[in-house]
Every structure is written in C-alpha cells, then in structure tokens.
Amino acid sequence: MTCELTLRDPRSIARIINLAHRFTCRCTRIDAVANEESTSASLAFSGNPGALARLRAQIDRIIAVEGVPDERTDLQA
C-alpha cells in the first residue's frame, strides 16, 4: 500500500508509522519533506490485506483532522 499525504503536523507521520507497527505491517518507504505549514510524505507499507485495510482506515481518520485542504492525498492498495 502506498500513501501520498500532505498533513499539517509532521508528528502525524510518526503516528502512522507507529500504527503500522501496531497492526504488524512493515513500513517499506518513508520519504517526507516538511515546511512551515505542512509536511508532504510518501509512504509504503506491506502486510496482510486485513492489517493494511485497518491501517488505511486509521490513516483516513488522521487525514480527516490533519489533512491540508486542497492538497493531494492518495492512498493506493
């Protein structure tokens, strides 16, 4: 699963990685750039489909609070 995210708070990236660990998914790529107002990240995860689905739902919930309006967010299975 790959994620292209733009979030307000760079700590959210760490939170997503913690969640992946909790769901026994493996984070296979972390590429992030932070500026004053937002952080853009490209992440990739591997794991079983059920765990990835749970991770995706949690990422969606984080985006709901932390997502930057009008910025691209893309989650691909």
Partner: protein
Amino acid sequence: MTSGAAVVLDALAREGVEIVFGYPGGAIMPLYDALYEHSVRHILTRHEAAAAFAASGYARTTGKVGVCCATSGPGATNLVTGLLDAMMDSVPVVAITGQVRSELMGTDGFQEADVCAITQSATKWNVLVTDPAKITSTIAEAFAVARSGRPGPVLVDIPNDVFKAKIDHVEFTPRVFAIAAPPPVVSETAVRDAVARIRAARRPVAIIGGGVRAGHAVDAYRTLVAMLGIPHACTINAIGAGSPGDPHDLGMLGMHGHKRANIAVQRADLLLALGMRFDDRVTGRPDRFAREAAVIHADIDATEFGKIVKADVALHGDLTTTLGALIDELARGHVPRFDDWATEARLLGGSLPSDRVADGVLSATDVLDRIFAALPDDAIVTTDVGQHQMWAAQRARPQHPRSFATSAGLGAMGFGFPAAIGAQFANPHRPVYVIVGDGGFQMSLPELATLRRYDVPVKIVLVDNQNLGMVRQWQELFFSERYSATNLADNPDFAAIAEAYGIPAFRLRSPDEADATIAKFIAARGPALLHCACHPTENVWPMIPAGMTVDELMEAKA
C-alpha cells in the same frame, strides 16, 4: 500587558467555558494564579483522573465541551485514561496541561513528561504551545477540533514560561483545517438507494449508537422510527435517545442486551445502523451477525463504513441532515409501516432473566428495579463499569436524551462517580445519581471530598457485592471457578467512610427494608450514599459470550 495564563482563561471564556475541573501543581501554577480572580470557575477534584471524568460527565450530559486541567508530568499522565475514554465514546473534552519551562524540556526536568507524545493516540488532536502570541488561536482551534465532525478530546500543553509570558498583542488567526470544514453532504443517490431498501424490507430493525446523541439527531431519529413504526434497538451510548414509552423500543442490544433486541437483529432483513460502530460487544462475531440483513450505515466518520460490518449503503454525513434526507425521500412516495413486525419483535425473548433467590439476601437487580422505578423523570444517571453498569443499562429508561452516561467503549472503572459530579455541575437543577460497584467506588473514593466541599447533591447508589463482579462472573463461567484477585470480602465500611467525609449514608441490607430505605435516600437533601449489601454471586443475564452470537445466548449458568 497581560499574562499568558490570563490569555488562556480569556480564550476559554470566549468559547463559553464556565467551569474547569482540575488539580494544581508546579508547572501550571501561573494558570491557577490567574484563576484566583477570573470569572471561569475552577472545581478542585481530588485526583486528575477525576477531573477528566468530570469534564466528560459535563460534556456527555450537555453536548458542550468539558474542560479539565492538570500540571505537568504525573498530573498530565493521570488525565490519560479520561482522555482515551472520551476518544472512544466521541466526547468533546479539552484538557489544558502545564509543561515544564521551555529550557528544561528534554533535560528530564522535575515533573517533565512528553505528554503530547503520550497522548497522541488518546486524543483527536494535541498541541504544544511554544509561542505566547498563539495561545488564543490555539485554544480556539482546540475547541473547533473537539466539537466538529466526530467529537473527541484535545490536549493543549503549555510550558510554564508561556503561561508567565507578558503579552501585549493577542494574535487570533485560527488556521483552516479539514476537520472544521462543513460536514460532508450525504449522497442523494445513496439516500434513494436506502429508501428503496426500506420500502422493500419486511423485517427491518434500526440500531442507534452514540452518534445520534453526539450529532444532535435525537429528534430526527424519533421522527423516522415513528414514521415507519420500525422496531429499534440501541447501543449503551444511545440509551435515552428513543421516545419515552415508545412500544417499538427493544432496548439495548449486545453482550448483555435484551434478548428481544438481539433476536430481532438476527432475524432482520435490513439494518439501519445510525451513528453506531458495530463494537465487538454489540456484534459478538461479525461474520455471523445479522446474517440475513442488508446494512444501511449512516455515520459522520467515513472510516466506520466496512470497518467491522460491510455496508450495503453508506450514508456519509451529519446524522441530522442524513435522517432529514431519508425522511424527505420517504415522504415523497410510499411510506411503509412495520408495526406488525415491531409487535412480533417486542414479544421475542420474554423478560430479563435473573439469579435472584429468596434467601433473604439483597439482590442487586431487585434493588436496581426498585430504584429505577422510584427515580424522578428528570434524573440523570451515570454508572461505573461492571455488572451494575449492565444491570443499569438493561433497566434505565430515561425520559430525556443525555440522561445516561457511562464509560462504554473504554470501560474505565472509576468513571461513574466523578462523571456524576461533572453532570451535576452542568445540570444544577436536575437530580443526578451514580450507580457504582464496590470496586469502582474504591477507585474514586477521594471525590467524596469534592462532593462535600461544593455540597454537590449527587446521590450515590453503591451496589456492593464484595467482588469485582463482572470478572468474577467470567471466572465462574469461563475460567473453571478459579477466582483470582476478585474477592473483595475485606471491603471497608463504606457508609462510615462517607460519614467521615460528612456525607449522609443509608445502609440497605435486606429486601424487606428496601422500599422504605430507598424512599428516604431519594428524599434526602444534598449528597447521600445508599450502601446496598448485595448477594455476592448474582450474575448478569442474558449473556452472549465474547466472540459468539445470539444463537449461543445464555440465560443462566449451564
């Protein structure tokens, strides 16, 4: 010039905050100094956990944001359970925590804790304020996040030097962020699909969850179920959302829910799941839950769709708007009635089973039956966690929404008593009762001092069975009667403890004296404790064991 601490309080007042529950300490002393002469009222609880639960009780019974505060380190970490409880049950709470001075952060300073890291998964959002000029906008943002969308807790961590800073210019520029955007508008296509399925259904059941209350959708929900004559069940967080006396209300479903509610859901061909999240205590085993039913799922949180149970129709949006759209679409054509099915559903399952025996020992369920029959119509009831919570949930029929508050998702013992204190401050003219077990009461005993100090007229119903009863019940049923660490036969004299705090206590020991003692307790002015010495081995029935379905429902020990 003003101080950062005064700016915090002014920002709280701007959000409509009148009361803050909290406990002082070193790092947050500047805020307490500002409280000394501010219009925002501070209520001193006797433990920070109680402050968080009191804020939750305040919020749950009003729909307003509850506010608590604590100092750095242990003060902040003591809030964590209350914050997670609010997170699980979608309760808007804002916590203000003191933090060590900025230059000490990272030095393992006295009472230093990285509370933002600690609470990242226990809050909807948290923030460390590093610039005194941003206090006002940050507090505004915190309240916006707590209230909007699916409500939840927010923590604002403020270093001691930021509280002390002298400020001559208050910056107020809340940033735009996704959660404060207008809620999504429910899809017209999905609404039409849902209505078509309702019209085609033969045995539909509505299940409502805490989202109906959180989304201020109680009136719309009552209109919809009355329009259809549809049988409806609720999760524990939605108790009180149904119209009083509605014959189609099947009561709570789930592990200890009413048999009729669970059977009706299992026989349903269509579920209207409204603001509920298919918790495992509701579904038991999701792949066998409501096997014959198509599911219409309405929620403001899109991540709930398909999380546990597949939604055939997902209605994503604010629940009041969604239910309004369903009602309007139904009214444009044939409005089906399901009264015959509702009557059939109501008769499924019979009355609540119990373990009562006529041995002269007080039965907890008998006492609670009598208490609920005697409570005033406008009573607010909070519960702690355990057997008494389930017995109360089975019996409570509040006349008003937001009149039953319990730690549902997290199941946090120690919640009930401080939550009742918060509920009483929020609703000073309504009677507030807490139903609590002997285990949970001992987790919150210090709050008797809060009751006394402010003369809070909360009535405490203590169901004392000298056991951690729910765990004992599981040990009896599923762990070969190996009663490990659940026997509390060495309980203290709770009535004497209450009296030592200046709280009148009533002792209830036998069924013969129950009605008279309960009447005296209810009539007592001010706070009071009713100590009920109950049978130690009475169990909660019915019960669907964890991970099973209504097909395995137990009504007594096998």
